[in-house]
């Protein structure tokens, strides 16, 4: 029993893997056509909530262990890939920060899973929802529990993908898919920062492990700044701070439980977690911390103003979320990390309740939403700005989404007009010779092959005895003619005598 308890921390990988298993099982059932109708729903929901509960129980057990014997800290469970001077490993970080947030997330995840079972009953995408939700739970636990940046990045991307899937849950509505794309593209900007920072960490800190961050002191401030900026961009994008805020207001297209867990309580805090994790790096670069305070304060003002004029419950809530998260950024920028952590936990707990209640809000309050304060109503410019959400939405659309779309359009054009033609496409080939219509070529390699085969065929005709007028055949004919002449000459007596005499001369 004791040894089991000692090794409990080594089983932490189950926390993200259990939801993944549920995803695999449900996915297989959908693929095999077994998940059809009402009867199939309970199994999917039970599997998902069982997996979530398993994770929660395991986290609680590890918490208990940590309370009794102290936190297990950094655990390396296995080699992933890599060689030489850097390595990616399966390692997990079980310090107080990760344990607290991991447990809280597991609890919220379990509650939301239970809630969704009833909320989504008889929805067309019931199983799809639980697949995406399980995928998200696995991803966010990877982010929170990972012992290195690479594994965390895997989780980070999993969150992004499941977020995309759930925003586009009602995929037959163009608005939903458009918003899903918008959120996804905006988040990619943050991912670029994350990847950049990971690469720099591998180069300068000698690895991706979070423990390597304590070596931050050893590198120069300039390098440190670059490294931190990468991570900060990732955090700002994920937590919807300025200038990335616009995506979160468009992300509420998904079903309410998913909005609750993604944008109300859990995923939006991933950026805050990342900055808390990077505290040793952050304190080295005060200017970046000032930048955090500025970004947080601006976001707070923005969210506050916009929040005042919102008339629907979900939008009002989301600006509340952005406001609170912005305050956390300010706290981190000022160095008050404990305050930020406490704020995060309280906010997550409170907000999940509010979001899950949002659909019933009208029937609970039965009141008109309060009007914006009088000073705002009177200042026409400010009011317009607030209602238009500072035109950030449009700005992001112009600066991020449209360039991406036109870039992809250009890439497609390049492909159609040049690359496809150069490489060749099946079904577009032209016949090499009219007597062999099925031997077709297209593209550069095809033409190359065709001309090569033409010249080889030329050689082949020369080489073979067959072929009309093959060189070898002609040569043989000519040689045969010469021989015949010689033979004819030898048959004449005078040459025969000469040959006999020549033979005698040679012998003698």
């Amino acid at each position: 029993m004791k040894t089991l308890l000692d090794h409990l921390a080594d089983w932490v990988w189950l926390v993200p893997v259990l939801p993944l298993l549920a995803v695999v099982v449900t996915g297989a059932r959908v693929l095999l056509g077994r998940a059809v109708g009402d009867a199939a729903e309970p199994l999917t929901a039970r599997l998902a909530s069982l997996a979530a509960f398993g994770g929660l129980a395991l986290m609680l057990a590890i918490d208990a262990l940590a309370l009794a014997h102290g936190a297990p800290g950094h655990r390396r469970l296995g080699h992933w890939f890599g060689n030489g001077n850097w390595e990616a490993s399966f390692s997990f970080m079980l310090d107080p920060l990760s344990l607290i947030l991991g447990t809280l997330t597991a609890l919220i995840g379990w509650l939301v899973t239970r809630f969704s079972a009833n909320y989504l009953h008889r929805e067309a995408g019931f199983h799809r929802f639980f697949i995406a939700l399980g995928f998200f739970l696995a991803g966010i636990q990877f982010v929170l529990l990972a012992g290195n940046g690479l594994l965390a990045f895997v989780g980070w991307e999993m969150c992004g993908i499941s977020s995309f899937l759930l925003i586009g849950y009602a995929w037959h509505r163009p608005v939903a898919t458009g918003n899903a794309l918008f959120a996804f593209v905006t988040n990619r900007a943050g991912d670029a920062g994350f990847l950049l920072a990971l690469g720099l960490a591998a180069a300068w800190l000698g690895g991706f492990e979070w423990t390597a961050l304590s070596r931050a002191r050893e590198i120069s401030v300039v390098n440190d700044r670059l490294l931190v900026i990468g991570f900060v961009i990732a955090a700002l994008a994920k937590s919807a701070q300025l200038p990335f805020t616009a995506w979160i207001t468009r992300a509420l297209e998904g079903p309410t439980p998913s909005s609750a867990i993604f944008y109300g309580a859990v995923m939006v805090h991933a950026g805050v977690y990342l900055l808390l994790r990077l505290e040793p790096l952050l304190v080295q670069v005060p200017d970046v911390m000032v930048g955090l305070v500025v970004a947080g304060a601006l976001t707070a003002i923005y969210a506050w103003l916009c929040g005042l004029v919102q008339t629907d419950v979900k939008s009002a809530l989301i600006f509340g979320v952005v406001f609170q998260v912005a305050l956390m950024f300010v706290a981190i920028g000022l160095g008050w990390t404990t305050l930020a952590l406490v704020h995060l936990c309280l906010h997550a707990g409170w907000r999940i309740w509010q979001f899950l209640l949002a659909p019933s809000w009208l029937s609970i309050t039965r009141e008109r939403p309060p009007l914006p304060p009088a000073w705002l109503r009177q200042n026409q410019l400010l009011y317009t700005i607030a209602v238009q959400r500072f035109w950030l939405d449009k700005l992001a659309q112009t600066l991020l989404v449209e360039p991406t779309q036109s870039f992809s359009r250009d890439a497609r054009g390049l492909e159609e007009h040049f690359i496809d033609r150069a490489i060749g496409q099946p079904g577009h080939g032209k016949a090499l010779h009219h007597d062999r219509p099925l031997v077709r070529v297209d593209g550069l390699p095809g033409r190359l092959l065709a001309s090569l085969s033409d010249s080889l065929q030329h050689i082949e005709y020369r080489l073979l005895l067959r072929g009309k007028g093959g060189a070898a055949e002609r040569l043989l004919h000519r040689a045969g003619a010469y021989l015949r002449t010689v033979e004819g000459l030898l048959e004449q007596p005078r040459y025969l005598m000469m040959a006999v005499m020549a033979t005698f001369v040679v012998i003698l």
């Binding site: 090499l432 062999r436 219509p437 099925l438 031997v439 092959l449 090569l452 085969s453 080889l456 065929q457 082949e460 080489l463 073979l464 005895l465 067959r466 070898a472």
Partner: protein, 481 residues
């Protein structure tokens, strides 16, 4: 014991020769009995063979011409046993699918049985003079098979084939006589000649090897000595094409391995040149096969390409490469057999070899569609087919010796995939259909037997690898690898 194997088909041929020629079925049945008996006997011999035992087993020798030092010596090692089994299997197939033959059935069966006997002789001879006799003995039945029973261009093809291979054989004979003269033992026995040949200075070895290589290279065939192959393969009756590409080509490669055993210094000196020839053959055959719209010509040219893998494997002169060469000999025998079988049966029904005259076989003739696709995919060496094992060995060994140049092998396979997929797309995918009688039960059985062998060796190559390991190790040992 081996004498019985070599002469069993001759007895069958003699018996068939005196049977009445009017009715084809009894002839077929009699030929089947002998082909089956030969295969069963070969399998029985294989079960008696001990891969870990002596190098040459079931050895029997009797003085033939004492004054010249030639012996009637037979024996098998792992490589020759694999070839004997292949020859027995493909002969059986060649007889099996000829059930519906009406004209010239007696001549055909007699000649096929004689050919089988000569092939057994080539693979089991342990004396170079006997080897040469059997080598030439394969020519006669083939000449008449092509000349009497072939396609419209058959006379030219037969003569062409005969002259080409005879020309090669002359070089081989001269080289053998030279070796006989140069080696101190003055004996034609393979073991004696090998012992003598290894002691010769490099220049002499090179000269002898050049002669042998021309002889074997024509048969294999190696670019630029392949001139006879496309015509002969195209014009020969289909079952003969099976034997021609399935077994006869392997005789060249088999002889080359024996030559490597005898003249190691010459092989080491020409190693890189052999590899160049192998790569050229690979690409040359592949590209010309790609160019053909004639199905049989396509398969014929692809044979040149695939035998390039064998030459590449031999050229590496190490255990992996030689193993790959031997496995490729078996694999190509089986896949080329399958392809010629199917193409021949299609020709029998449509009297056209032009791909443009064919349409989708789906629905109408699903068994044809399956075996066409299977044979072509197995020929590219798809994982799970015997060819994959062979190509992998050759690739690994070739990479160790020549590094990145083995990409040429991949390129040839890519070209192979191109023409294979063209045919598959035409015959085995949806499209304009064509009316065609599907394969009969006998034909399906024959093709299924080959396919089963290909898949079995592809998934479980251990028995074959174990069978040839000892002999291959012995040959590779001469090169210190």
């Amino acid at each position: 014991m081996l004498k019985a194997l070599v002469f069993l088909p001759v007895v069958g041929a003699a018996l068939l020769a005196v049977m009445p020629a009017r009715r084809a079925l009894p002839l077929w049945q009699a030929a089947m009995v002998f082909a089956l008996a030969a295969l069963a006997y070969a399998l029985w011999l294989a079960s008696r063979f001990d891969p870990a035992g002596a190098a040459v087993q079931m050895f029997e020798s009797r003085a033939w011409n004492v004054r010249l030092g030639s012996y009637f010596a037979l024996g098998v090692d792992g490589i020759s046993l694999a070839m004997v089994l292949l020859a027995a299997l493909l002969s059986l197939i060649a007889v099996l699918v000829s059930r519906r033959m009406e004209e010239g059935a007696r001549l055909y069966f007699v000649l096929v049985l004689l050919l089988e006997s000569a092939m057994f002789g080539v693979f089991t001879a342990r004396d170079w003079s006997l080897f040469y006799v059997f080598w030439e003995a394969t020519l006669l039945p083939l000449f008449f098979l092509i000349d009497r029973l072939g396609g419209p261009n058959r006379q030219r093809a037969a003569l062409n084939f005969f002259l080409y291979t005879l020309g090669g054989s002359v070089f081989m004979l001269v080289a053998l006589l030279f070796l006989y003269d140069a080696a101190p033992g003055h004996s034609f026995a393979m073991a004696d000649m090998a012992a003598g040949g290894r002691g010769l200075p490099l220049n002499t070895q090179l000269l002898i090897f050049a002669g042998l290589f021309i002889g074997f290279g024509v048969k294999m065939p190696v670019f630029p000595l392949h001139g006879w192959l496309p015509l002969a393969h195209v014009e020969a009756p289909s079952p003969v094409s099976i034997l021609l590409s399935g077994v006869l080509l392997k005789m060249g490669a088999y002889g080359l391995i024996r030559a490597a055993d005898t003249l190691p210094a010459a092989l080491l000196a020409t190693q890189d040149w052999l590899a160049i020839l192998a790569f050229v053959s690979l690409l040359y055959g592949g590209i010309l096969a790609w160019r053909q719209q004639d199905l049989k010509a396509m398969v014929a040219y692809s044979s040149i390409s695939h035998m390039g893998v064998v030459l590449l494997g031999i050229a590496t002169l190490n255990v992996t490469g030689l193993t790959g060469a031997v496995v490729q000999m078996v694999a190509h025998g089986l896949t080329a057999g399958t392809l010629f079988l199917v193409v021949g049966l299609l020709y029998q029904r449509t009297h056209s070899r032009d791909l443009a005259d064919y349409g989708s076989l789906l629905g109408r003739a699903p068994r044809f569609a399956f075996f066409v696709a299977f044979g072509l995919l197995a020929a590219i060496g798809l994982p799970g087919s015997a060819g994959f094992i062979a190509e992998l060995h050759a690739l690994v060994a070739g990479y160790a010796r020549w590094g990145g140049w083995v990409i040429l092998l991949g390129l040839a396979m890519l070209v192979g995939a191109a023409y294979s997929l063209r045919v598959i797309g035409r015959l085995c995918l949806k499209g304009e259909g064509m009316a065609l009688a599907d394969m009969t039960r006998t034909e399906t059985f024959a093709a299924g037997l080959l396919a089963a062998c290909i898949v079995t060796l592809g998934l479980w190559p251990a028995p074959l690898l174990e069978l040839v390991a000892g002999s291959v190790g012995l040959v590779a040992g001469r090169f210190g690898a």
